[in-house]
């Protein structure tokens, strides 16, 4: 039987290094890394750490493009190290640097706290006047599939910071809220269960808010999850303008379907499939920690 092991090549990794406590600024260190087809940049970094330099630092977790931890600048373009295959973007050399527009904690680890501070400002959650219903729901809020479509793609954001790193406006104006928080604001504004648009407009309609966007569109090009933050920001601008001109369609947050315990399955929603694995009975005492 033939050996099907993929062919190996050597790629020169030019990795940005920086230890703020010991060094005055970032510098580039190069490593020769044996690479085969299918290897991701994250695999390459692990290979460096395991075999060449154990002091290299980066942030990662899920290894499958879900957690958003490993956002980096790969050959000058923001992306996730775990979903970017080395041989797709490099033939002989690959530059790896931390995401720009953020302070560097160490090596490839950006300080994303500025992004999350801005994210918090736009109140990224459902706001309703009937607060008691939020904390102690007595029924379901009705939302049609069409209404869901208005904001669904914006829910796919994993807060990796790639859009913030690619934004040329944010590069020149650190006070600009940036694509991620503005997309989060539009995600909740477009949600029919929400009634907090006026609250968010105080932030999104301010000087560093949506109107600062130049529509360069880089945020949408680099998003590893296919979200379109540039569109979200334009929708947000439209929302602000129509609201100011009193041309916005009057809408109330959607109402509950029924009373307590009577949320019913819609007729066009298929039943959940049967379990594919047998449920293992809990060992005696195992569930006691939940009590």
């Amino acid at each position: 039987m033939q050996n099907t092991r993929p062919e190996q090549r050597t790629i020169r990794f030019h990795v940005s290094r920086f230890h703020p406590e010991n060094e005055r600024g970032p510098y580039v260190q190069s490593y020769e890394v044996p690479v085969h087809e299918g290897m991701t940049v994250l695999d390459g970094l692990h290979s460096i750490k395991d075999n060449l330099d154990s002091t290299l630092v980066w942030r990662s977790s899920c290894r499958m493009g879900v957690c958003g931890s490993c956002g980096m600048l790969l050959n000058g373009r923001p992306g996730l190290a775990c979903t970017t295959q080395i041989l797709k973007i490099a033939t002989t050399s690959l530059t790896v640097a931390p995401l720009p527009n953020f302070a560097i904690i160490r090596d490839l680890v950006p300080d994303l706290s500025s992004m999350f501070d801005k994210h918090r400002l736009v109140r990224p959650y459902v706001i309703r006047t009937d607060e008691a219903e939020i904390h102690d729901p007595s029924g379901e809020f009705y939302q049609s599939a069409e209404e869901l479509e208005h904001y669904l793609q914006f829910t796919y954001c994993i807060k990796c910071g790639c859009c913030m790193a690619a934004c040329p406006t944010l590069a020149t104006d650190a006070r600009y809220l940036g694509p991620m928080p503005l997309t989060a604001a539009e995600r909740y504004n477009a949600d029919t269960r929400d009634g907090g648009q006026q609250e968010r407009a105080k932030v999104t309609g301010s000087s560093p808010g949506a109107i600062r966007c130049h529509y360069a569109g880089e945020c949408s090009r680099v998003c590893p999850k296919g979200v379109d933050p540039a569109k979200a920001v334009q929708l947000l601008k439209r929302r602000l303008v129509l609201d100011y001109l009193h041309l916005a369609r009057k809408s109330e947050p959607c109402k509950k379907l029924k009373g307590a315990g009577s949320g019913m399955r819609m007729p066009n929603i298929v039943a959940a499939p049967a379990h594919t694995v047998e449920t293992i009975p809990a060992a005696p005492g195992e569930l006691s920690i939940l009590k």
Binding site: T172, G205, S206, I211, L240, V241, Y244
Partner: protein, 127 residues
Amino acid sequence: MKAARLWTWHMAAGAVLFFVLGLHMGIMHLGEIGHWFAPYGNLTVSIANSRFRDGMLTFTVGYIALLAIGLFHGLYGLRTMLLELTLRPAMEKAITVFLLILGIGLLGLGTWAAVAAHGVALAGVKG
């Protein structure tokens, strides 16, 4: 929200400018074809034709409105560009105040010129 309101007016002013500058192009640069508001010969910018237009109240109001809209659109755009230099808040305030005074000053000067030209044109007609 104040920033969003000003930005809305900036965009609206841009749209109005687009329309008004179209009128300007038609009247001033295509006059030889249409002879719009130019009854004294083919030269649209001749003294006689200019006086004819200056004597019309619609044109005087139009000049002032065009100046106001153009100044707001231009100076607000300039302010936006300058503010992207990430200056200190005091400097941003100073820029805003300076551009506001400049805009009001230029609008005052332009208004005086348009009204004076209207008066001269009417005096010429009467005289």
